[in-house]
Symmetry: C2
Subunit: 345 residues, 2 copies
């Protein structure tokens, strides 16, 4: 009989606790490794340039549902979410490698559709697909993408550079992708209850589009270069700005004071949240998958961004002891809390 061993459920630690536990003893061995685990991407020294590397895995039934996700969109999105991590380092993605495992319910034509989306993203973002692995799986579809980018030595932006007094900026509205997902889930349930009902997504085309076909903010990174702006810290909004702002604060050793009125929410998202009896600001803070950039700048750089339509100033970095707070429109001040995925709950 096997000896009794202690068993800790993954759900007990949560995503961030798990990563912390698995990576806390890493000792880097190569001088070329400038940054390992703990940012949007790893950073490798190549003398002239820096190489920036990020990876993400998308699992059917966890990250996407093929009942309402067209394979072409899925291919596109699986590339975009990785490129977004490279841009979040203020670097330019150049190459990707993709590994795919799929069960035999997928045909060659289905895979070609998936790849059509992958190639469309490669073309739009000027990235080369340079390698990969295809394999069978016993169940479902799994897509793993690694993106490789190039950055300049003095321009890479980490999560840990935010200073007290810096302005907190965001590149677009948040919460819409989450509400798009809620719509798709609702229509799926209606369809499962009565397959004769056709889904009606016409009126919510913006929200559903934010969920199914997100874009990475390549344009913003190019604008930073044109305007000679280097943020002090940056992250892409994948888990929700609450969670992502916490990462910046934790790694920079600072706090944050976020203005609810400064957090951009699309009118459709505002309306849809209310229809679902959800609080719009909660959707905006905790929704995730918006792939906007959340960054901080030194206030002396404010002239470089203030007339840019795509940049919203949403708050200020404060000392760590002041915590991470939200100042609501109603005049209340709340603590902001963050969690990673809770897939195991």
């Amino acid at each position: 009989m096997a000896e009794e061993q202690s068993r800790t459920e993954i759900s007990k630690l949560g995503e961030f606790g798990l990563i912390e536990r698995l990576t806390k003893n890493i000792q880097l061995q190569n001088p070329s490794t400038l940054k390992g685990v703990g940012d949007d991407a790893a950073v490798i020294d190549n003398n002239d340039f820096l190489t920036v590397v990020s990876t993400d895995m998308l699992v059917e039934g966890i990250h996407f549902d093929l009942m309402y996700t067209p394979l072409k969109h899925l291919g596109y999105k699986s590339v975009v979410v990785n490129l977004s991590d490279i841009y979040a380092m203020n670097a330019i993605p150049k190459q990707i490698v993709i590994s795919i495992a799929m069960s035999n319910r997928f045909s060659v034509e289905a895979l070609e559709e998936l790849y059509e989306g992958i190639y469309a993203a490669c073309k739009y973002y000027s990235v080369d697909l340079v390698g990969g692995d295809t394999s069978a799986s016993n169940k479902g579809l799994i897509i793993s993408v690694t993106a490789i980018g190039q950055g300049e030595k003095d321009k890479i932006v980490y999560r840990n550079g935010a200073q007290v007094g810096d302005l907190i900026c965001i590149t677009g509205n948040v919460g819409a992708a989450y509400l798009g997902l809620q719509i798709l889930e609702r229509e799926k349930q209606l369809y499962l209850d009565n397959p004769k009902i056709q889904p009606n997504l016409e009126e919510q085309v913006y929200l559903v589009g934010r969920q199914l076909k997100p874009e990475a903010r390549k344009d913003v990174i190019e604008m930073f270069a044109q305007n000679n702006l280097i943020p002090t810290a940056m992250i892409d909004v994948s888990d929700g700005i609450a969670s992502d702002l916490m990462h910046i604060c934790k790694q920079s050793g600072v706090g944050a004071f976020l203005e609810e009125s400064g957090v951009p929410i699309h009118p459709d998202a505002q309306m849809q949240a209310i229809n679902f009896r959800l609080d719009p600001i909660t959707c905006a803070l905790s929704g995730g998958e918006d792939y906007e950039l959340l960054f901080t700048i030194n206030p002396k750089d404010i002239d470089k961004i203030k007339y840019l339509p795509d940049i919203y100033i949403a708050g200020e970095i404060v000392p760590a002891e002041d915590g991470v707070k939200l100042h609501t429109k109603g005049g209340n001040i709340h603590d902001i809390t963050a969690q990673g995925w809770q897939h195991f709950k």
Copy 2:
């Protein structure tokens, strides 16, 4: 009703046909992409050095069986198989990123065991784990590893450089990993038929070890550097030397004449093949997972390898029209054929 569409089963194309179909229209956009799909690894120009990138996915039930694969060994092997691809470019792996998806039957302690193996491999090969992604899966364990290495501009070795007259070399015995797998599968069946029977693997420790804990030939790449030897073409033996030699021949536009007597087979593998009523040379040619290096050299370089105990000369490169042939010990000449995985059959 959905329109009828044509459906091609993945099994009909096989691995290489599928990759060919999905990647045939790739148009590279970045001048820094020196080599895309089609070798052991992609090659990226970074001015001073080349960055070499390879990726592999391991899926439970397809690539490994946790009934007889200790998690620590699995972690170790998942790193090694990727490093092997980097060495096969005559480059040095420096960093890896790992994405893992697992169902909630895995505990945190189980994951820690897996990571123990990952870190052991990192330490042994002086590689840094610099990033990754952990996620839930609905079923099973999936591990995706991307390895990043550094190469010198004049020393990268591709699959396409073999010339007529070159010698075909191999760095160690082949077929043992495949026979190790057959032993593990047999013991698993015996156990499933009668759980009271304890597996007896003591006598086959070498073969089982080749399957469960392979090593990448870092030492050989270091030896090449010491001896100023640059192979003309190289590949690592993952699918079996038949298949891997075919890749070199196809990409170099040449044929090959392989001597059965030159293909190294370990005495334990020889014996075990006969026990299983298998042909030892078939196991050696088609077995796979040995992670030795198969390479070709210009015959003028023979003095650089001839006293090296780990290098076996197994044949010669011939014109394409002569085909890829095996000269058996019995004096017959056979065509060599190759297939990738057949998971979908």
